[in-house]
């Protein structure tokens, strides 16, 4: 019998989140994929999930999930897990799903593996691939009985379409406890940014400590704008307070896979490489010829990003006109 793999599907602006659909596609390749969708828009989203590999969808269309973080979802999932005991619960690595996984793991004494880039079953043995520290690839498993949790790295899997496929929908009626409604969202603020988001950009120009000071970051933004791309940053300069966390690319922060990635004054710490080395073409500018970033670059320039960036922005603008 195929193994049952669950995926908690997040809803964004009335649509299933892209990151959830990637995971759902992978789940469908491993066995019988079933999805769980929670929140006021769950019912509308659920019916579309057959096309992304779900054989069945559990729906709880309660608006409390939209207002109260983490705990209502943990309660509902814990109950469902006890009833159905799937082989695995797969989750995309997002802010909300990480919070849910952390509590589920403890409450139900589950095994858990984070940051997976691939997984498979060999007979009954789950084998999960987890990159560690840039040079090492770990194969891990969860030997104990019961459902395990695997959080997968963003963009590890492509979305799989199953055109026209429908799915069975089971509507849950359980009522949520008031005790679970304590972590309350009072306000949601979207920060407007010009150009594409880091997740969607096909070109990313990013900066690190080699830029010297926060005031020089505009050079990165100007090249990004000239290329129609987005600007990103390393954890080092986010930690240093130059830029908000939303700019951060790396194992902490965002995983990106643009067509072109231009790294400016970035040495290439493991934590940064983890978030960008899936890019199709990588160009690196750094003063230190021994910088690890050059080991992943298709084109490496040993030089000063502060000098080269304005010249390159000018050159790009000039050639784009021609």
């Amino acid at each position: 019998m195929p193994k049952t793999i669950w995926v908690l599907v997040e809803v964004e602006n009335g649509q299933p989140a892209r990151s959830s659909l990637e995971v759902l596609g992978k789940a469908a390749s491993l066995g019988r994929a079933e999805a769980i969708v929670l929140g006021s828009q769950a019912a509308e989203v659920a019916t579309t999930l057959g096309e992304y590999g779900a054989e069945k969808v559990y729906v709880h269309a309660d608006a409390a999930y939209d207002t109260y973080l983490t705990l209502p979802a943990v309660d509902t999932l814990s109950d469902l897990l006890k009833q159905h005991q799937p082989a695995l619960l797969m989750l995309a690595t997002t802010y909300d799903l990480r919070d849910i996984a952390a509590r589920l793991n403890v409450r139900n004494n589950m095994g858990l593996i984070t940051d997976a880039t691939d997984l498979q079953f060999e007979g009954d043995t789950l084998k999960v691939t987890v990159p560690w520290g840039g040079e090492t690839l770990v194969t891990a498993t969860l030997p104990q009985q019961g459902t395990g949790i695997v959080l997968t790295r963003p963009k590890a899997f492509a979305i799989e379409r199953h055109e026209g496929k429908t799915t069975e929908v089971e509507t849950l009626q359980a009522s949520l406890t008031s005790a679970s409604q304590t972590i309350k969202i009072l306000e949601r603020v979207e920060v407007e940014s010009e150009g594409p988001s880091l997740e969607d950009a096909s070109v990313i120009v990013s900066g690190g400590r080699g830029l010297g000071k926060a005031e020089n970051f505009h050079l990165v933004e100007e090249l990004a704008a000239a290329l129609g791309g987005a600007a990103g940053a390393t954890r080092a300069i986010v930690d240093a307070g130059w830029l908000p966390y939303s700019y951060q690319i790396g194992q902490t922060g965002k995983t990106v896979k643009p067509t072109l990635y231009i790294a400016c004054g970035i040495s290439g710490a493991i934590q940064h490489l983890a978030g960008m080395k899936g890019s199709k073409y990588i160009v690196a500018i750094n003063r230190d010829e021994h910088a690890p970033i050059f080991s992943v670059a298709d084109l490496g320039i040993i030089g000063d990003a502060l000098t080269i960036l304005p010249q390159l922005t000018g050159e790009v603008k000039k050639r784009k006109v021609q």
């Binding site: 793991n105 403890v106 858990l112 770990v138 949601r188 070109v203 930690d239 966390y245």
Partner: protein, 261 residues
Amino acid sequence: MKIYVCIKQIPDPNTVVSKLDPNTKRLVRSGVSLVLDPGDETTISAAIKLRDTIGNSELVAVSMGPTSAQEAMRRALAMGVDSAILVTDPALAGSDTLGTARVLAAVLKEENADLIFCSTESTDGYTGMVPGGIAEFLAIPQLTFAREIRVEGQKAVIKRVTQTGYQTVEGPLPAVVTIASGSFEAIYPTMKGIMGARKKPFTQLSLSDLGIDPSQVGEAGAREKILAIGKVEARAAGQVVKDDGNAAQTIADFLQRYQLL
């Protein structure tokens, strides 16, 4: 108010390529430079700031680790934390996130913590599972990815970082709050702070002090088992050239060749 901050000593992420020992399958700690997690410096700074804003409060650092972790705790004390508790026990080696959360939660439960600060994740393991795990063991809310925090009566209110902006989120105390890296200005230890740190209370606890069964933690209690350790397939190295004044042209040519302009 009693405020706690959970911290960790890790191999210096700026100088050490983190490795796993192929035999023990644990993080290699010997012969490498160990530091207070840089993310924790931000978190400690946020906690100190809040303690001073609220007034009449004390801030305690809690950590689990080998005795060498005392060094990282001394730094926290030098930054301005009031006292420190280190849980150290040979049986803790090889703990996973569940074991770590179990131990830290046991300390915090004894202490009747009002507010518990953690970094969103450590800079070595990056799992981010321990803070939520502590909150679940203590059956209290977790307010995560905070870039700002304030306390209003018996509530904590944070600005929570999201993919597209932020949320304002509130929860009743006691609560666990996780701090997003880089969101608070770091406090650097002063000479006076470093001298004073030596005189601050420092408690060391073992598993038996906490009444935890060793089979629930360490390698014995870990759920995840490593089957194999291999090498990442290296990306083919490209061309590296020195800037001779024409770097902008060289890059633009490259972009044009691959139709990236």
